[in-house]
Amino acid sequence: MIKRIFCLCAALIFATGCTGGTAEVRERIYVQSAVLDAGEYTSLELFLFEGTGELVEGVGKDIFSATENAAVRTGREIFLGHTELLCLKSPMDSSGLMNCLDEYRLSPGCRLLLLQGEDISEDTDTTKLTDSLKLGTEKGNIPQTDLFTILKELQSADGKALAPLLTEDGISMCITDGQNILGILSQRATIGLVWLRGDNHPERITVTGENGTESFQVYSACTDVSAQIIKGIPHIKAEVKIKGKGNTNAACNMIKAYCQSAIDETAESMRADVFGIEAAIARDCSEYYAQHDFDTVMRTAVFEIDVREK
């Protein structure tokens, strides 16, 4: 009995991590958002959760040494696991993002925001910035993106991803290849991508019909991207089905126009696959996919949009 009690006590002390290498909550800094500038030297600005009113800065050769530097300055350990927003002064490639996810333990749901030219100062309320990104996604104004979706897109065959970008006018969407920003999307294309990606459609849209401007309430919507090879040319068909209350025809026409803008600005002009073109070809035309490189596919592909009532 004594042996068992002894073993239990020993297990409680040694096996639960209470002996060493642990940190109290007050000994840690919980980061709400981070601004990363990965140039010759990596500089990191860490915004803490509300209430602390503190900005912590660190510089180093990489994210790790920058974080260590910031930790030494404050005398507290830095915990990045709860980070809600990661702002990048310049785009980051997939290996860098993978490190953020795997090594620095950032949440896959952490939002990413590119800051080409724009700056985030000490006075910026990064919580509000995070909330506006969240709200924009919830309302269906911008497509749903986070660290994981951007990483997954950068790792795909075309190596391009859709990411939010902070501009003078607010938050826009852009296409990046992990090195540069290839182009900023218009408002119409951004809304079109919301429908083409089909993750977060808006609950209400304003349409212009025969009776003028009116509201269309979207009950449900689904998107299906399929591929077909006709005479050796890949035909990509994006099918959006909607169900709602209001002028359905006008809503369908408007969504179709937005989707067309999105295709023109992404797949046609930048050869960027940001709504599942590769997956559709790999699934529906596996032989063609195996025989052709994706660049050829994107150059020759013909796009078709079909928006209709469910």
Binding site: D102, A279, S286
Partner: protein, 334 residues
């Protein structure tokens, strides 16, 4: 050694399978999933002679007591080698999971101490611990499913790289060291319907298929990026938006590796006891041999090859078949 139930047998073997799923880099995608199903089909066929042998009243302990040394020694050597490989797998994957103690020696010593204590309590206590851990594994799987559900994209399955069904089947069979364990543990399992004793196969298949499907549907082409797809899957399958559930996977990983090495220690020590009844400190000897084997395998960088299938087929299929034929001949002669 005490007797265990079929359910406990299933839990022990399932935990061993689960550890292999976590530690090894396996292919994902539909061809790999088909390969896994084929692998499990072959495993079922491999188990048939052992099932028939035990139905005819075979007992490994009685066989060892009849002064047959060669076969028990082969089993002990196999378990020590697999225990050693388990240590290598832990050392290799410790960095991926950011274990608090990732130094190979301290990890081995800590696991060794826990295994030594657990194995000293006997097979019955070990099997109860396995049942508890299996429950915990079930909860973890539910959490993984909840986290992965938000990230699942069925169209991503077509993007998952896979080297084909044959390769998937070979890879699955390479990791089937639970089959020789099954043959030995059958000696200590209460008599039950054969279907109950073989439950570890369909549940194991389900576990494999779920993890492979999740890896393919969540990670897609990203699955080939990381060395360990399971850990990559857990990194991105977080049920809460801005909070990670890594601690639960860490606990399960540590529990599984401890139980797996304990399983090999318990069985090695028991068989050693039947061969050399006067031998003392058998568990310590078995553990030290495993750590030694692990160091050797770690030094040469060996964690497995298709040749691993040969001892599995020999110990699970050939040996029981040979014993069965021998028994039939003896029956006819008498």
């Amino acid at each position: 050694m005490n007797r265990i139930s079929s359910g406990q047998l299933t839990c022990i073997l399932l935990l061993s399978e689960a550890f292999m799923i976590m530690c090894l880099s396996a292919d994902t995608g539909l061809p790999a999933m088909a390969g896994t199903a084929i692998g499990f089909g072959i495993k079922l066929l491999l188990c048939i002679p052992a099932m028939v042998l035990y139905k005819n009243g075979f007992s490994l302990s009685s066989y060892c007591k009849e002064r047959h040394f060669v076969l028990p020694v082969i089993f002990v050597l196999y378990f020590i080698a697999r225990g050693g490989i388990s240590f290598v797998l832990i050392w290799n994957s410790a960095e991926q999971l950011s274990l608090p103690y990732s130094g190979s020696l301290i990890t081995a010593v800590l696991i060794g101490i826990v295994c030594l204590y657990t194995s000293s309590l006997g097979l019955r206590t070990f099997s109860r611990a396995a049942t508890f851990t299996a429950g915990f594994l079930g909860i973890t799987l539910v959490i993984l499913l909840i986290g992965a559900w938000q990230r699942m994209d069925i169209s991503s399955i077509s993007l998952a790289e896979s080297s084909g069904a044959f390769s998937g089947a070979v890879e699955n069979l390479m990791l089937s060291d639970s089959l020789p364990v099954f043959f030995v543990l059958m000696s200590f399992t209460r008599e039950d319907r054969p279907a109950k004793r073989l439950m570890f196969l369909p549940i194991g298949l389900l576990l494999w298929e779920i993890v492979q499907l999740l890896c393919a549907a969540v990670l897609g082409g990203l699955a080939s990026y990381g060395e360990y797809p399971f850990f990559l899957l857990t990194s991105v399958s977080q049920p809460l938006a801005a909070q990670r559930a890594d601690a639960i996977y860490l606990i399960v990983f540590v529990l599984l590796c401890t139980l797996r090495i304990t399983m090999f220690t318990v069985l090695s020590a028991h068989i050693m006891g039947t061969i050399f009844p006067r031998l003392k400190l058998r568990s310590i000897i078995a553990l030290l041999l495993m750590i030694g084997a692990g160091t050797l395998f770690g030094f040469i960088g060996y964690t497995g090859s298709p040749f691993c299938i040969l001892p599995i087929v020999f110990l699970t299929f050939t040996v029981p078949l040979w014993l069965l034929i021998k028994k039939k001949k003896e029956c006819r002669a008498s």
